[in-house]
Symmetry: C2
Subunit: 323 residues, 2 copies
């Protein structure tokens, strides 16, 4: 970190949340953190590159929000309580307007979840944002990708395909319904991580993942790790009114729901004897929850319902790409 | 992480060290780690950008080594035992030759220190390497920047200015002594973090930092945090035979020792009553240790000895830049 950059961190990136378990925050060679007994540390790191993970013209505030949100989403998928973040920010130039807006988006979300920024590095280079998140999960209670069993029900929080619809708009697509368009763009730029929902799923879900790369890709990870197959009911995929308003073709909507990424909803499996528990607890959630299919024996994903013949090719193409 | 990138991580970045305290490594939404009781978690994140933090023509193996080494050096400066690393790698293209060499350099160093790679993200973009290191330090024993007191002696491990000399060579400088030139370039490309030395300093040093930005800048951080001044004896600055062989002008050598970065030696303060303890324990170290001056009351750094009049301007220029 150069000296000029040091003052950037001091000025804009002083954490606005202060936690008792941070013994030493930004400003030394490392932060010092204290874990409570009986808890495991969950860590995840994610990089967003301008023009690849977000359109180059994305608002600085949205970039700050999203860089943290995608990491919080990883904690949600583990059933871990996010606690501390570090930020490595590569900037073409130390533009105070950009940095202030970026920090605004980052810290608004951090404060909402009580997360303290405990370390960072700001360097000059092409715009790239790396965030590492650290969370806490009680011993043995983390949600893994590997626990799904044949017979488990598959669920999704919220709606699928919205961020993909928003990306289409950002890339020049049209939508006559301006309210719907604004909703899709907000879902692309300001994803809401399902942290409370992920933590509530401890002891209920047998496996979980967050949908960053699209349902087929991410459910594929659960199935691969769990050694199972799945059947998905296309008619059960949760599509928002906004997506229906902007994307008129149902096949296109389903394609977005299956393979567009960036929704940061949770996909999770629930054993049959836990279904009523899930349904009771999800009543207090701020987002809907939808049962979209079941885990079965074997491997791969089978689509069912109207349009499945045309869309099954998506699954095959995805399998091919993975090898 | 895209699917093609997933296979890159799987193929080249499967950790070659496996620790019992890693409950879940690469391959889920987060890694799960267990801290022993009585230990604090030390975390630090650092980014290296091609052409800024290392010359663009640096060997891939050296980039992999250095990205981890600079983080291990932060642990050394805290007196923390490094344990787990995460890696966010932005690559222009998934070139297997580059990646294999990079991973070779990274993992050789990781294995030497028993560090497990527990998470990562590989994305496409301009070459940028971010590593976060996680270390363990007994409760209350971390070495901070803030503990130096007037009267403390200031020490440096190893030699100063070698990496700066190496950078001069890489940027087109000449050295008739090819053996000396090779040594300086090795110090630039393959810095050796002083991890064992940093851990041994717990309970002995009152403050410590690693020298990444140059002695004046980094000692300045100790002094600022400790509310002290320092006097440095130029004649005591440790200069290697290789630096003497390649840089014939003594003022130039001292300038490199004072202000060139990238040496990753430790600079630390030792109270007078701990000096004999330090001298006893440093006898078993693989690097030399040199007393270069003392902490005093006030603020700022005063240079003493031959050449100090000409070089005091470096200190002033540095102070000016920091504001």
């Amino acid at each position: 970190m150069s000296l000029g950059e040091f003052s950037i961190i001091e000025r804009y990136f002083t954490s606005r949340s202060h936690r008792d378990d941070v013994l030493l925050g930004v400003g030394d060679d490392a932060a010092l953190l204290k874990l409570p007994p009986g808890m495991q540390l969950a860590v995840s790191i994610d990089t967003l590159v301008a023009g690849r993970h977000f359109p180059a013209d994305t608002a600085a505030e949205a970039i700050g929000h999203k860089a943290l949100a995608v990491n919080l989403s990883d904690m949600a998928a583990m059933g871990a309580e996010p606690a501390w973040a570090t930020l490595a920010l590569t900037l073409p130039e130390p533009d105070p307007i950009f940095i202030e807006a970026f920090a605004g988006g980052f810290f608004r979300l951090a404060q909402a979840y009580g997360i303290e920024l405990v370390g960072g590095d700001t360097v000059r280079g092409p715009l790239t944002v790396t965030v590492q998140i650290h969370g806490l999960v009680p011993d043995g209670e983390a949600l893994l990708r590997s626990g799904a069993c044949p017979g488990d029900y598959l669920y999704i929080t919220g709606n699928l395909g919205d961020a993909g619809g928003g990306l289409g708009l950002r890339q020049g697509g049209n939508c006559s319904d301006s309210q719907a368009a604004a909703e899709l763009l907000a879902r692309l730029d300001y994803p809401e991580p399902r942290v409370a929902e992920g933590c509530a799923l401890r002891g209920v879900a047998s496996a979980a993942i967050d949908i960053s790369d699209g349902l087929l890709a991410d459910l594929g990870h659960i199935l691969e790790r769990s050694g199972c197959a799945a059947e998905i009911d296309l008619g059960a995929l949760p599509l928002s009114p906004a997506l229906r308003g902007c994307v008129t073709n149902q096949q296109e909507r389903l394609k977005l729901a299956l393979s567009a990424g960036d929704d940061y909803e949770l996909c999770f499996a629930v054993p049959p004897h836990r279904r009523s528990e899930l349904e009771a607890l999800s009543r207090s959630w701020s987002c809907a929850v939808s049962c979209i299919g079941r885990v079965s024996e074997g491997a791969g994903i089978t689509l069912k319902g109207e349009g499945s013949d045309a869309l099954q090719g998506l699954v095959a193409g995805f399998d091919h790409f993975r090898r």
